[in-house]
């Protein structure tokens, strides 16, 4: 039966995009790290393979575009909830063009596509945390109030609360959903502060799972038929301490995914895919 806000974590499709060679030199980054494109591609292939083979999602694999070095991070280009997709207006001007391919892909999936046309609005999908019951939008260097308002307009069913993001690139640079009502949060002070704000702003109660590394707090939760709770998270190699925390989760199918290279250009696990549920939609 159709119902609102049912089946958090249930996905049937995923949209990913290939890594352009320009990523190595031109992709935006907050650090000075050098990126090995081949290694990054290897990681990304493994990541996509997990989605496609291990989890059985229908993966829409968009080709890379050399003119958009950051195009692999598809999450920032659109926000999909239910069967509504909001095409964003990325905060980085160099990335605005990434949305074209995304829009086509989403329309091809018969989603109700909404575009953010206001030139005063910016929004990166990485700043949007959907908890299943509401949205939190990080106000960051990439996302502004107007962008959040348009998102609220696009998803009228849900409360949209804003959270200041000061110390990191995106809201989801230090948090993500680890399950229904479970927020995985980094242990840094800004992360904890942001969590407090989110808790205060919400009518709902969330559990939290604190991991030592902020970046490790970015993981991908799914609730798939036949597989139950699935969590894609960091590897022991990358964040050993945080890995131990994830290891303690019970009744989860835990899938460590390596992300050593993409992280150098601020790419987290959630950044590399857009997850869509076509089945449960009304």
């Amino acid at each position: 039966m159709a119902a609102l806000m049912a089946g958090f974590g249930l996905y049937t499709h995923a949209i990913v995009r290939r890594i352009p060679a320009s990523l190595a030199k031109e992709a935006l980054r907050t650090s000075e790290a050098e990126v090995d494109v081949d290694k990054a591609r290897g990681e990304h292939d493994a990541y996509v393979e997990v989605l496609r083979t291990r989890l059985g999602l229908d993966v829409v694999d968009l080709p890379a575009d050399e003119s958009f070095p950051d195009c692999v991070f598809v999450e920032d280009a659109a926000v999909v909830c239910g069967d509504t997709a909001l095409i964003t207006r990325p905060g980085a001007e160099s990335r605005r063009g990434e949305t074209e391919a995304m829009k086509r892909a989403l329309k091809a999936l018969n989603l109700n596509v909404v575009e953010m046309t206001d030139e005063n609005a910016t929004l990166d999908g990485g700043d949007v945390l959907f908890t299943g019951r509401e949205f939190f939008v990080g106000l960051s260097s990439r996302t502004n109030q107007r962008g959040a308002e348009i998102l609220a307009d696009a998803f009228k069913d849900y409360a949209v609360s804003t959270v200041p993001v000061l110390a990191s690139l995106h809201l989801k640079s230090f948090c993500s959903m680890g399950g229904p009502g479970l927020i995985v949060i980094g242990s840094s002070e800004p992360a904890q502060k942001a969590l407090k704000i989110m808790q205060q702003m919400s009518d709902h109660c969330y559990d939290k799972l604190t991991v030592p590394d902020d970046f490790a707090a970015n993981c991908i939760y799914m609730n798939l038929p036949d597989k139950g709770h699935v969590l894609l998270h960091c590897t022991a190699e990358q964040y050993p301490e945080s890995f131990k925390v994830f290891e303690k989760l019970k009744d989860y199918t835990l899938i460590p995914v390596s992300n050593m290279e993409k992280v150098k250009v601020d790419g987290a696990l959630t950044c590399c895919s857009i997850l869509i549920n076509k089945k449960g939609s009304i």
Binding site: M1, A2, A3, L4, M5, G82, D83, T84, N112, R133, E134, V137, Q145, A148, E149, A152, D153, F155, K156, D157, Y158, A159, V160, S161, T162, Q200, M201, S202, D203, S281, I282
Partner: protein, 1017 residues
């Protein structure tokens, strides 16, 4: 008729006279006895009266109380009131006619009844009244069917009245009318109408299905009267979620205050109203009846269609499909609808073909779903919408930025455009106030913060600030103040200044609706006209004719886009609430209220405030009555306030000495008590499935003071009558107070302290206590003297209330628990409670009838009174040897508890040990004699504190009602320097964590001075 008027006034005078006459108290007692004897005859009446009293507006009661000091008189008043009502309803005309001859008699009868309670009046009344009695009884039951009957009858009566009114009007308008009207108001709409002699006015009410309902009401009828009429028309029992609105002079939609006269609210002569949902239940599946859900659906359809409740395309389609299923049944491809069928239905503000197709598509998938199921599914989805139940108000923040303030069940939300930029949950809010066009909330300090902060918003104007404030008060009261397991009875929440929420809290209404025992009523859904089959399949009577989907008409229904829940009405009207509230308010308020009497000062504070108050030890300020009232208003009961009353006031030097010994207590009782060495915190979580809980409270009392118990019982019986009577006078008093308060209060500003958790609310011991204390102190002796009647009455009153109607008692208990909330509709319980409360105020002696007050009295008074021991109730005896125990009840407890609490013997004044008892629920009383099951017992001993926690689970079957009470009693005992506040707060906090639903029924601070020879057993 002037003559009649005169008679009424005479009555009043008589009443006053009676009040004036100390002897009358005796008489009153005698009368009461007589009454008791007569009760057999009048039982029905009494019941009615009780019921009535419940419904009676406080101020009416007050007036009565004022006028009638003696309980008997009061009782008589009640009876009279009843009779009057009856007369009004049935025989107003006859009365009128008779009045010529009997006018004096009628009024006199009233007066006589008041004074004498003779059977004559009864007989007279009975003749006229008997039918009325029946009606009244029904009314008391509160069941809608009854009400409907009443209404119908009432209408007839009204008509009669009209006829006769020409004659009677004078009276009705006269003071007498006021009294009667008051009484009547509470119970049933009919009664709400003051004497029928008034002119009738036709009210037009737009219902949720878009149809109009017209009815006649007396010009001076209160809002509640009309509201009940509408509910009767709709066959709606779960009416607490609904309300009436009207357009004020500024084209703003305002809520019709049930406790105020309609005429004074609408101001313009436009008697147009709309019936709307006032409180959106967070979980509609918990509603008891399909008809309630249906009405909620109608409201929400309109909300959605108008865009007031924003939702996405998909949600529009889904909700629309459920609407189709509910209204038209299964999708029938064989019977194609007209092409424009869908477009004629209004589902969304931006409805288009695509949406209509989606709706039809989804509609197909609902095959087989009954209308009730479709409604339920509609609500299940609608309730998840983020703006569900959020009442938006335009405002500006401190920097002048346009924002929206959203009031909802969970707290206050701050929006900028569509974004939520802040949220203040009710528990985080310490105080809500407004001043001119500013609206302030005081925020509880966070974990890392030391001081509370105040956030201010600018509203468009003073009216909108006040409206917002009222909405906040109402929502907080309704959703927050109830104990999760509120007993059946309605509780009145005291709101800040004049205004308080006068309805039941959600918890109460849930409890009440759980008692609904009727076949699911039949009702027609507008569009389909199909009879909805309730899931039960019970047959029903179609009540409503539905015109169409609410969506189409919906907008019309609502007078204003922004539903204003607040009532802007005249300040004066509000006062009723305030009168009740004052007590509670005071509780909440940390303020020191000096009442007339200098001596006793009472401090009420929320637990948090308690700490502060202790710390700061605010000296009692001798504020004027007005100030007092203001305070009352200002501090809503919500906050848990622990009032500690000192017995100091007691005439006995000893007591004073004891108090002094107690430590810091100088004048302020509260503080003193706090200082006491021993602090007992009893938290009782009472989950009453059934409304009958009262007796337990009594039991508790007995428990405390076994010796006293017998007395109480004895007293109780006779008292019962008294109580009723008393209640009336109380109301009158209350009314007076209210009026005063209202006057005193400036509409310009008001404060409301939302309290902490439900439990906290209990704590509030209103001003009454203070008053009582004062009275006690000052008048301990005096009480006997001045209010001999009162004192006896009080004691009696409290008991009787409990004894009389279990329901009442329960309600009282609940009320008490929720002290803040106590002032509710004034329904049965409340009324009684209120009455009780009121009386104290009015009665010089501090007969504070309010249960709380009583409790306070009991504790406090016990000592002083012990001397006189006018009150049987309070008679908790600590044994003579016991030096002196100061009991400070911070409870919301019901009168019963209060009664119990007061256990101090005054003989020896030395006070070394103080016991602060926080009693939330009633202890298992001897009366119940129900052995509880001891679930857990835990004792934690630290350096200076010994905390013992015991949990009892009691199941009782009474009259077919099963009641499960889980009581947790926490006793904190310490030698000397205990931070009571802290210990108390901690204990409550811990208990709350374990049982979030629990409510603190009672907090008793027991100070025992060991100086005395022996302590209590």
């Amino acid at each position: 008729m002037t003559t009649e008027v005169g008679s009424e006034t005479e009555v009043k005078e008589k009443a006053e006279e009676s009040a004036d006459q100390p002897d009358q108290s005796e008489k009153a007692t005698e009368e009461t006895q007589e009454v008791a004897s007569a009760e057999g005859e009048e039982k029905g009446k009494e019941k009615e009266g009780k019921g009535i009293s419940k419904f009676l507006p406080t101020w009416l009661k007050k007036q009565k109380s004022l006028s009638q000091t003696s309980p008997t008189k009061e009782a008589a008043l009640k009876e009279e009131a009843i009779s009057v009502e009856k007369q009004e309803e049935e025989g107003p005309a006859p009365e009128v006619n008779g009045l010529a001859d009997e006018v004096p008699e009628k009024e006199a009868v009233k007066s006589e009844q008041l004074k004498e309670k003779e059977e004559k009046p009864h007989s007279k009344a009975s003749t006229d009244t008997e039918p009325a009695k029946e009606e009244k009884v029904d009314e008391s039951v509160e069941k809608s069917p009854e009400e409907t009957k009443e209404t119908t009858e009432g209408q007839g009566v009204e008509e009669e009245k009209k006829e006769q009114e020409g004659e009677v009007q004078g009276e009705g308008e006269g003071g007498g009318g006021g009294e009667e009207g008051q009484t009547s108001i509470f119970q049933s709409p009919l009664r709400l109408v003051r004497k029928t002699k008034m002119k009738l006015v036709v009210c037009h009410v737009t219902l949720l299905d878009g149809t109009d309902f017209s009815c006649e009401v007396e010009k001076r009828a209160k809002g509640q009267f009309l509201f009940f009429k509408v509910c009767d028309h709709l066959n709606l029992l779960e009416k607490d979620y609904f309300g009436l609105t009207y357009k004020d002079n500024h084209e703003q939609t305002s809520c019709l205050d049930p406790m105020k006269e309609i005429k004074r609210q609408i101001r313009s002569n436009n008697w147009q109203f709309a019936f709307n949902v006032k409180f959106y239940p967070p979980d509609p599946s918990l509603l008891s009846e399909d008809i309630t859900r249906y009405l909620l659906c109608l409201q929400l359809r309109e909300d959605v269609a108008s865009g007031r409740l924003p939702c996405s395309f998909v949600t529009h389609a889904l909700l629309g499909s459920y609407t189709l299923q509910a209204e038209f049944g299964d999708y029938e491809p064989d019977q194609p609808r007209p092409v424009d069928f869908m477009s004629q239905l209004n589902f969304a503000p931006s409805q288009n073909k695509e949406m209509e197709e989606k709706i039809l598509e989804l509609h197909k998938s609902h095959r087989g779903m009954t209308p009730a199921q479709a409604d339920a599914q509609f609500l299940e989805n609608a309730k998840k919408l983020s703006m569900y139940g959020v009442d938006l108000h335009h405002a500006k923040d401190s920097e002048g930025v346009d924002i929206m303030l959203g009031v909802c069940a969970n707290g206050l939300l701050v929006y900028k455009d569509r974004l939520r930029i802040n949220r203040f949950a009710w528990p985080k809010i310490l105080k809500i106030s407004y001043k001119r066009n500013n609206f302030y909330i005081k925020i509880r300090p966070g974990e890392t913060e030391q001081f509370e902060s105040t956030v201010g918003f600018k509203l468009q104007n003073h009216r909108s600030a006040k409206r917002l404030w009222k909405v906040c008060v109402e929502n907080h009261s309704f959703f927050r103040l109830n104990t999760p397991e509120p007993p059946t009875k309605p509780r009145f929440l005291t709101l800040g200044s004049k205004f308080r929420y006068s309805g039941r809290t959600q918890a109460q209404t849930r409890t009440a609706s759980s008692l609904i025992d009727r076949p699911a009523p039949r009702f027609e859904r507008t569009s389909s006209k199909r009879i909805s089959r309730s899931l039960d399949g019970a047959p029903m009577i179609s009540i409503t004719e539905a015109g169409r989907d609410s969506a189409e008409n919906g907008r019309e229904h609502r007078l204003d886009d922004s539903k204003v829940k607040t009532v802007d009405v005249s300040p004066g009207d509000v006062e009723d609430t305030s009168a009740q509230s004052p007590l509670r308010v005071h509780v909440d308020n940390i303020y020191d209220h000096d009442k007339t009497q200098d001596e006793v000062l009472k401090h009420q504070a929320s637990i948090s405030q308690l700490k502060r108050s202790f710390m700061e030890a605010p000296p009692p300020s001798p504020p004027q009555t007005n100030q007092w009232e203001k305070r009352l208003t200002s501090s809503p009961a919500t906050a848990v306030r622990v009032q500690q009353q000192q017995v100091v006031s007691e005439p006995h030097a000893e007591a004073a000495a004891a108090a002094a010994a107690a430590a810091d207590f100088t004048i302020s009782d509260t503080k003193e008590s706090a200082k006491t060495a021993e602090v007992e915190i009893e938290e009782t979580v009472v989950i009453q499935e059934v409304s009958k809980a009262t007796k337990p409270a009594l039991i508790t009392v007995t428990t405390d003071s076994p010796a006293s118990a017998p007395t109480d019982q004895e007293t109780r019986e006779p008292e019962v009558t008294v109580q009723e009577e008393v209640a009336v006078p109380k109301d009158a008093k209350a009314a007076k107070q209210e009026s005063v308060s209202s006057e005193s209060e400036s509409e310009e500003e008001a404060e409301y302290h939302p309290n902490v958790s439900v439990s906290l609310s209990h704590t509030q011991i209103p001003e009454e206590k203070e008053e009582e204390d004062k009275e006690n102190e000052d008048e301990t002796a005096e009480q006997n003297m001045l209010a001999p009647d009162v004192s006896s009455h009080q004691a009696e009153t409290s008991h009787p209330a409990e004894d009389i109607s279990g329901g009442v008692v329960e309600s009282q208990k609940e009320d008490m628990k929720k002290n803040a909330e106590n002032e509710k509709e004034g329904r049965e319980t409340e009324d009684s409670t209120d009455d009780l409360m009121m009386t104290p105020e009015e009665t010089p002696n501090g007969v504070a009838l309010s249960e709380e007050a009583v409790a306070a009295h009991v504790e406090e008074e016990p000592e002083p009174r012990i001397n006189g021991e006018p009150r049987p109730q309070v008679i908790c005896y600590s044994e003579p040897p016991v030096v002196k125990t100061e009991m400070v009840t911070i409870s919301d407890t019901f009168a019963a508890q209060k009664t119990e609490i007061a256990t101090k013997e005054v003989p020896i004044v030395h006070t070394e040990t103080k016991t602060i008892t926080y009693e939330a629920a009633q202890l298992d009383g001897t009366g119940d004699g129900e052995p509880g099951v001891l679930m857990t017992a835990q004792t934690i001993t630290s350096e200076s504190l010994c905390t013992t926690t015991t949990t009892h689970i009691t199941k009782t079957l009474k009259g077919g009602l099963s009641e499960t009470r889980i009581e947790k009693r926490i006793v904190i005992t310490g030698d000397c320097d205990i931070d009571h506040d802290k210990a108390l707060a901690q204990a409550i906090k811990e208990a709350k964590e374990q049982h979030p639903d629990m409510s603190v029924t009672r907090v008793v601070v027991h100070k025992e001075t060991e100086l005395a020879e022996e302590e209590e057993d």
